[in-house]
Symmetry: C2
Subunit: 354 residues, 2 copies
């Protein structure tokens, strides 16, 4: 069986599995959501506001507080998960440039809509090849790029990216920056949110999925100052695409400072600790530099299939690299979880040769 | 301000409104959902099963129990609300036949995808013009038809529809039957679910929205024995389009016999009572025969705008007919609610001339 995405615990057929294939904040659902679940239950029998006015206000407040940018209702596009936002934006373009390896849904959306896809391979150290991107964007309409990228964990180098940004702004090309994991960098400066004020070509994707540990709730959004483009996109969206539980989640978790702060402390610690320990494992040749909550590893003397099977036999689910374009079965991706679980992975890996 | 759909209480700007514009079961959220909400909370931090195996099993059991048809996983298509299912199906066709007046999203989906839309007007008594549909389907790829229809409440006459069904089956045309309100007819024989066994051209749309009073949860689905067509549709769907609360709702409310039975008793009573009372109102010229939980009314001596404003001043939201194709502002649509609220409407209407 092949796994297109991480987190597919259902196809594995094993219960009580520790899922390191899915990169979700280990603190789990913010208590501020659970505490306000009754508000969602009261909304159930009503159709959502077609304009999601209160929800958008919540997003605006969050973005104002952390990024000091004012986003009005017109600057926001909402989706039933980030995949819906990504899909609707990509569906507008006929020539799509995608650095690889990356999240497979970028390419799926492009292909589904009959677009031509051009790849820009990451360098050997898994950083972006900015020169190659600059060359190839000349012949594309849109660049879809992760910040940080998945599965490699690298962020965009703002200095090196500037030339691409300026070119796209001048030549009416769109840059979609997928910042689904950006909060895990712990550094607001890494985000391109503030750059939207200067660059209309930028569309930034965010979600509640990863940092707020809510993949089941289905909520993602895009922000951009290209109001005309967003208006066009909203025009083809279906009404009521956000459920009432997601509405309530946005309202509470984005202002849950306790959850945000403890998560930042955790990731800062484990981002240092876990790779160090993994580098001591004899079949791990390399752990790539990551700025977020997952680690791409290169294997040596064992392939992904073998390590997957062995790990699964120990109750651990890992993500193989074999179906990422530009990777092969000598790569795996591991989530960073809490200290106890990270150590569990280390223990399981250590016992492999014994 | 114009209201494209019922239930847009957010644009009205009045709180504590009694919403007769939105046709939701007045029993509200089934207790069987609330009682199992913790199951959904536990699912929040996991991505949903990309194949929604358990959810589909729940649907199959329900359809087997009430309609005696076996639907396998391949026979089901899931959507983030019925609108998503309708949209993805309609997007496949270039010539769409729609009886009118009807739910505006049929046409929106067709237009968005650049399809040509042909109308078949309902007859004066708001029944379908089967001869006209038969003539026009010859030049269309797909028929999108409500059963019961919204806003008129009429069901399809199976005898008269047979000729259209046979023709579409033989000529590879698709018939989308929107049965979002079918449970309110109280008669399983009115549904075309069982006919899918004989007719591959049939695709039936259902939802939790109306009968189970869960518009906020966003869940709709399609059933068909045209496996190849559904497979193609699933191929262009985005992953994880159903949230975990909808998953849990399907699991419990569809087998909630208490809720289903009390709802059937209520609608049977009020479907007789409310129209009788409305017919006594002097500005209501006609209440059309309805087989479900809403009533289309023709006004006389007052227009929809005037009655809308008057009703709103009394805390009552009604649906004007003016933006339904084929109707005008001499029509309104009213939901059927419980006896107390229905009587409240009668009282408000009675006082209009005093």
């Amino acid at each position: 069986m092949d796994y297109l995405h991480g987190g597919d615990i259902y196809s594995v057929g094993v219960s009580n599995i520790v899922d390191f294939s899915s990169n979700i904040n280990p603190f789990g659902v913010p208590e501020s959501f659970n505490a306000n679940i009754n508000e969602a239950l009261l909304l159930l029998t009503k159709y959502p506001d077609p304009h999601y006015r209160e929800l958008k206000q919540g997003l605006s407040l969050y973005l104002k507080k952390y990024y000091e940018v004012n986003f009005l209702r017109e600057d926001l596009l909402l989706g039933n998960g980030a995949v819906e936002v990504i899909d609707i934006i990509i569906s507008f373009f006929k020539n799509v440039l995608i650095p690889v390896p990356s999240f497979s849904e970028y390419e799926s959306s492009a292909r589904k809509n009959g677009a031509k896809v051009v790849y820009s391979s990451l360098k050997d150290d898994m950083s972006y090849d900015y020169e190659d991107i600059y060359k190839k964007i000349q012949f594309s309409d849109v660049l879809v790029i992760g910040n940080p990228n998945n599965p490699s964990g690298n962020v965009i180098n703002k200095d090196k990216f500037r030339k691409i940004l300026e070119f796209c702004e001048k030549n009416n090309k769109i840059i979609i920056i997928d910042e689904a994991f950006i909060e895990f960098t712990g550094n607001i400066e890494e985000s391109f949110i503030k750059d939207t004020e200067k660059y209309n070509c930028l569309v930034i994707i965010r979600a509640l999925t990863k940092f707020f540990a809510l993949p089941g709730i289905r909520f993602g959004y895009a922000v951009s100052k290209n109001i005309k483009f967003l208006e066009e996109l909203r025009g083809i969206q279906l009404p009521w695409n956000i459920n009432c539980f997601a509405e309530v989640a946005v309202k509470y978790v984005l202002k849950d400072e306790g959850y945000i702060n403890k998560s930042l402390i955790w990731i800062e610690e484990e981002k240092n600790y876990f790779p160090q320990q993994l580098r001591k494992i004899n079949f791990i040749e390399k752990v790539f530099e990551s700025n977020c909550n997952f680690l791409l590893c290169k294997l040596n003397g064992i392939n992904g299939q073998q390590l997957f099977n062995y790990s699964l036999s120990k109750g651990l689910l890992i993500r193989r690299g074999n179906n990422f374009i530009g990777l092969d079965d000598s790569y795996i991706r591991l989530a960073i979880k809490d200290r106890i679980l990270n150590e569990e992975v280390i223990r399981i890996f250590e016992t492999y040769y014994r």
